[in-house]
């Protein structure tokens, strides 16, 4: 007998459930996650190096986890700050998922860590779909990437809590049109803060740390319009947008099973050398 089943399941429900639990677990430990997204080469690592160094100076306990397809170069750079740093090699996977992140934190994240910076895989497409349990999602773009980047990658920029422009020290040389960039950001994410930084000169360094600490203290965080659509339970797009009555979280039947999606994770992790660097640049 053939039967049609009205299933109604959000495809990312498992990741979202994992992210919720991770956020709650980390909150209980006093840790707030900052998820950094950008294209490859936008300057996530350089800015993060500067922010970690500043945190070290101010004795703010922070840690960083950086994800790349290959090499431990970023972890080596970040570890110069003296802060705990972990490199995750995704073996080709283009994004991090909440369960992967949780697994990497187990037994590594030092107690008392106030902020955990997660440097996502350099990619503005895939990471945008995955909540990692962060409180602050930061999307970066360098001045060389074109003012229309927010329009080309609307989901990434549209879901940001903070947008950071990097490499502004060369803005003049590359003819960066700040007003156009800001207008494009406002089109996909009205109201989000756009901060200007230049890690090489130190301009704007510290803003990320300040915003992250404010969010960790429970301060207000920008609410992107794009994140406002209730996607829980039954939702028919052609209906009047009635407030979703079942917004409360109930866990999927077995959130920890090893099915399907999880397989991808195991593969992605296979044979990877997750390394913790205590310091020591390899230059």
């Amino acid at each position: 007998m053939c039967r049609v089943i009205d299933l109604q399941q959000a495809v990312l429900a498992k990741n979202d459930g994992c992210a919720q639990r991770l956020r709650a677990d980390l909150a209980a430990r006093g840790t707030t996650v900052v998820n950094l997204l950008s294209s490859p080469g936008s300057g996530k690592t350089a800015l993060l190096e500067a922010e970690l160094a500043l945190a070290a100076q101010r004795a703010v306990p922070v840690a960083a986890l950086t994800a790349d397809l290959a090499t431990e170069n970023d972890a080596v750079r970040l570890a110069r700050s003296g802060m705990p740093v972990k490199q995750v090699l995704t073996d080709g996977l283009c994004h991090l998922e909440a369960r992967m992140l949780g697994g990497h934190l187990d037994g590594w994240l030092p107690d008392g860590t106030r902020l955990l910076f997660v440097e996502n895989v350099g990619n503005l497409v895939c990471p945008a779909s995955y909540d990692l349990g962060e409180t602050l999602r930061v999307v970066l773009a360098s001045v060389t990437e074109g003012e229309d980047k927010p329009l080309k990658y609307p989901t990434a920029f549209g879901l940001a809590h903070l947008v950071v422009v990097t490499k502004t020290d060369i803005a003049g040389a590359v003819g960066f049109d700040e007003a156009a960039f800001r207008a494009n950001v406002a089109q996909v994410n009205p109201g989000v803060e756009v901060a200007l930084t230049a890690a090489r000169t130190g301009a704007g360094v510290g803003l990320l740390l300040d915003r992250a600490l404010a969010a960790a203290d429970g301060g207000p965080v920008h609410a992107p319009v794009m994140a406002s659509q209730p996607l829980t339970g039954h939702h028919h797009h052609d209906e009047e947008a009635a407030p979703e009555p079942h917004e409360h979280t109930h866990a999927p039947e077995d959130p920890h099973d090893g099915h399907g999606h999880a397989h991808g994770h195991e593969h992605a992790h296979g044979g990877l050398a997750s390394a913790q660097h205590a310091g020591g640049p390899r230059s």
């Binding site: 009205d6 919720q20 829980t232």
Partner: protein
């Protein structure tokens, strides 16, 4: 290219539901894909076929239903298609949209599968060719949460 991850998630969810219901073969999976879900339907279809191999979904067809993105303005009480790239400021008054009402969907809506001929709880006249939803099974899930909800932490 996270479509493979998405495809594996879809297959995993349908597999679970199918096993729970004792379904023997999944024929079609219907998926809503919002314009702003960040998923490419063609790529997803390719990955879906691979992800189905060797599961109860082997050979299943993926039917994707695109959903246009729409937003609503509170002061104007109007709703508009935001287009691509999206414009989330009200075309009438220019203020920021109060919310998106559609466009970020990424959800399995319906699945068609084979079940062993029903034990038929009393109802003797089950039509074996019926392909309409006779008994809708609804599985509540944790949906995507609003990550900006301040109470979430």
């Amino acid at each position: 290219m996270h479509e493979m991850s998405i495809a594996l998630a879809v297959v995993g969810q349908v597999e679970e539901a199918a096993h729970a219901a004792g379904a023997t073969a999944v024929r079609t999976v219907r998926l809503q894909v919002g314009e702003l879900a960040g998923v490419v339907p063609d790529s997803l279809a390719f990955c879906f076929e691979l992800a189905c191999a060797g599961t109860v979904l082997d050979g299943a067809r993926l039917e994707t239903e695109p959903v246009a993105a729409r937003a609503r303005c509170a002061p104007c009480a109007s709703e508009w298609p935001v287009g691509m790239p999206p414009d989330l400021c009200c075309p009438a008054c220019g203020s920021a949209a109060a919310e998106m009402t559609a466009g970020r969907e990424l959800r399995v809506t319906a699945v068609r599968w084979d079940e062993p001929t029903a034990p038929a709880a009393g109802a003797g006249s089950t039509d074996p060719t019926a392909e309409t939803a006779t008994e809708a099974v609804t599985v509540a899930t944790t949906g995507r949460s609003r990550r900006t909800d301040p109470e979430e932490r």
